[in-house]
Amino acid sequence: MSNGEYTDAPIYVAGAGIICAIGNNVGECITSFEQGTAGMGGMTYLNSLHKELPVAEVKHNNKELVVMAGMTASTSRTALLSCIAAREALSDAGIKNIDSLRSGFISANTVGGMDKSEHFFEAFAVDRNAGRLRNVNNHECGNITEMVAEQLNLRDQVTTISTACSSSANAIFYAARLIRHGLLDVAVAGGTDALTKFTLNGFNTLMILDKEYCRPFDDTRAGLNLGEGAGYVVLVSEKVAASLPHIYCRFSGYNNSNDAYHQTASSPDGTGSYLAMQGALKKAKLQPADIDYINLHGTGTQNNDNAEGTAITRLFAPHVPRMSSTKSFTGHTLGASGGIEAVFSALAVKHGYVYPNLRFEAPMKELQLTPETSFLKNAPLRHVLSNSFGFGGNCTSLIFSKA
C-alpha cells in the first residue's frame, strides 16, 4: 500500500506475447488467422482417456517447451507457457531502461501446477507416502507466477489472480490500476493455463465440451473445446510510453461485474456481461456506438453465447459492432483466454485486424447476431472491446483504444 496518488492518466500497451494452439508467438498466430487455420485437433500431449474430445494444444511437448522457456525440466507446463509468452511480450516492448523502472508481473491462472499434481496423485492415491514431492511442490497458482517473475526479473509488484475464465482479464486491469496508483511504471500482465486432465474431466462432467470443433455463436453450437496457452501484454505509464519507439494502443476501459446468478451458468439476460461491458464503456468514457469490434468471450456453449449475445444486443442494438470469438481458433484457454484475447484486441486496434469466427453458419435463432467470418486488415478500429466471463459469475470487459 503506497501513498501514490491515483490519477486517470492513460495507460498504454507497449508489448504483446502469446503462445497457444495457433502459434508460438504473435506473428504465427496472425498467420493462422490469415489462413483460417484453427488449433484444434486430436490429443497429442495431454494424456487423457477422453481421446474423443478435440483439444487445442500448444504444439510442443514439455521438453521442447523447457528449452524454449529456459527453465528447469520439472517445471509445470503452466509456467513454461507463461514464461515463453511473457518473455516475448517484454522483449517486444523493448524497454531499454527497465532496471531503473518499477516493474511488476500480474499473472493469472486457474490450474497452477495441476499437470504435475496429477502425476503425483496417480501414485499418491494408491499410497499416501508415494508420489514425487517435486511434482506437487508447485501446485499453487502463485508459484507459477513467482517462477516466471524471477526468470524475467520483475519484482516490484508480483501477484496472481484466479477468477476462472476471466482471470487474466482481471490481471490486466489490476496491473493498469497499479500503474495509475503510481505503484508501477511497467507491468507484464495476462495469464496462462496448461491443458490438464483435471480441467478436461471437470468440463466433461458439466457436459459442455463439444466432440466436434466448437462453433461459437452458431445456432448449432454444442459446447466448447479446451485449449491451452498464455498471453501477456506489457502495460506502461504515459511517461514510459513516450520513451518507446512503438506502442500498440491505449488501454482505456475495464470493468468487473458479477452475474450473481449461478455458480457455473450465466443468467439468461446476461446481467453480469451487460454490467461488465457497460462499466468498461463508462470507464473509457465511451458510448456503445464507439466500439468497432468485440472480441467475444464466445465459448461455444449454449449458455454463454446466449447470455453474452443477449447482453450485447441489449447494450449495442442497433449499432451492433463487428464481433468474433477467437476461441474458434485457440479453443478456450481458461485462465489464459483473457490475456490471449487482450493481445488479439491490442493488435486489432494497432493493425485494424478483425478476426474470423470459424465454423459459423447460422445465427442463434433468438438473437440475430452474425459474427465476422473473414479476417479483416486495415480496419480503422477506434475502440475494441474484449469480453471474458467465468464461473462464479465473474464477468470482465476490457477496452483497447487507438493511441
Partner: protein
Amino acid sequence: MKIYIHSATAISPQHTFDGALLEDLVTYNTNRLQVIEPPYQDLLDTKLIRRMSRIIRMGTAAAIKCLRDAEIDQPGAIVTGTAYGCLEDTGTFLTKMVEQCEDLLPPTPFIQSTHNTVSAQIALTLHCHAYNNTFVHNGFSFESAMQDAVLLLREQEADNVLVGSADELTDISYQILTRLGLYKKQAGSNLDLFNTNTKRTIGGEGTAFFLLSPTPSQDAVVLEGMNTFYLSEHAQLSPERIAAFLSVHNLSVEDVDVVIDGSNGDAIEDGLYKFLQQTIFSALPVIRYKHLCGDYPTVSSFALWLAYSIIKAGKVPFSLHVKQPSAKRILVCNTYLNKYCSLMLVTK
C-alpha cells in the same frame, strides 16, 4: 484517504466467531489445527449449507456476518485471497479421477474446486453484482486482496469493500505438506508452540473478513498502512525497513503500543523476531498468535482480525500474556515460509 475497518469476522481454530475475545483458548495436541465451525443456520440457507464444502461454508458465513456487523446490505466490492483455493473438492475430484479412470465423475467437486468459489458464493448469496476478485498468490494472497480493496476505495470505485481470506487444510494437503516438511515431527500442545525449541511449525486454517470504507464511524479502526516484502533476500524484516515503514506514516516505533508478530515456533525462523525484539521492538510488548490458529498462507488475516479486535475491545485479552492492558496502535508483522513478509498498521 483514511481507510477504516468497520467490522472483522474470523472463523478459526479458536472461538473467534462469537464475540468473546479469546477468553478461553482451545488446546490442540496435534500439529493440525482445524477451525471451529459456528452454527450457520442464522447466516446461510440450510439447503445451501449442506451443498457447500467446508471452506465455502466458513468463508461465506464469515463474510455475511462481517457485513451484518457493519450494517451493510450490499458491499461495493468483494475481494478474497486464498492460496490453496478449495482443496477439499480439488482432492476429491483428483482422487476420483485417478481411481475411476476418468469415468463417471461428479461435477460438483470440480465446480467447487475453482479458486474464486468463495468470492462467487458470497456474491451469489447477496445477489451482489459488484466487483468481485480473488487473489491466489501464496503467502501474499490476503495482502494482495487488501491492496486491491484499498486501491478500489482510493479510486472511489466503491463506497466500501468486503475483503477477506479463506484457506483450508485437508487430510490430503496436511499429508502432503507434512511430507514436504512444513510441520513439526513431534506433536505437542499448540499453547506450548513457542517453547519447543524445535524446527518447523504447526498447520492451520481459517477465514477472516473485513469491511473497509473511507467513511469514519464510532467503532471503526483505522488501517494506517500496509506493506509487503517479497523473497528472502529482500524480505528481511529489518529494523530499518520497519522504521522506514513507520516514517512513511510520520510515525516512529514509540508511537506503537503493541506488536503482533508472526513467530511460528520454528526455532530458526523465529530468530528474526527475537532479533527484532532485541532491537527495534525492545521497548514494546509483543503478541504472538500462530499458536492459536496454526500457520498457513493467509494467516496474516487472523493477525489483522486480532489487532482490530483488541483495539475495538479496548483491552488485550489476558490469555495472550501481555502486560499491556490495552492498545490504540498495533503493528502487525507477519512472515510466511520466511519468504512473504508483510506489515500492517492499525490504530484507534
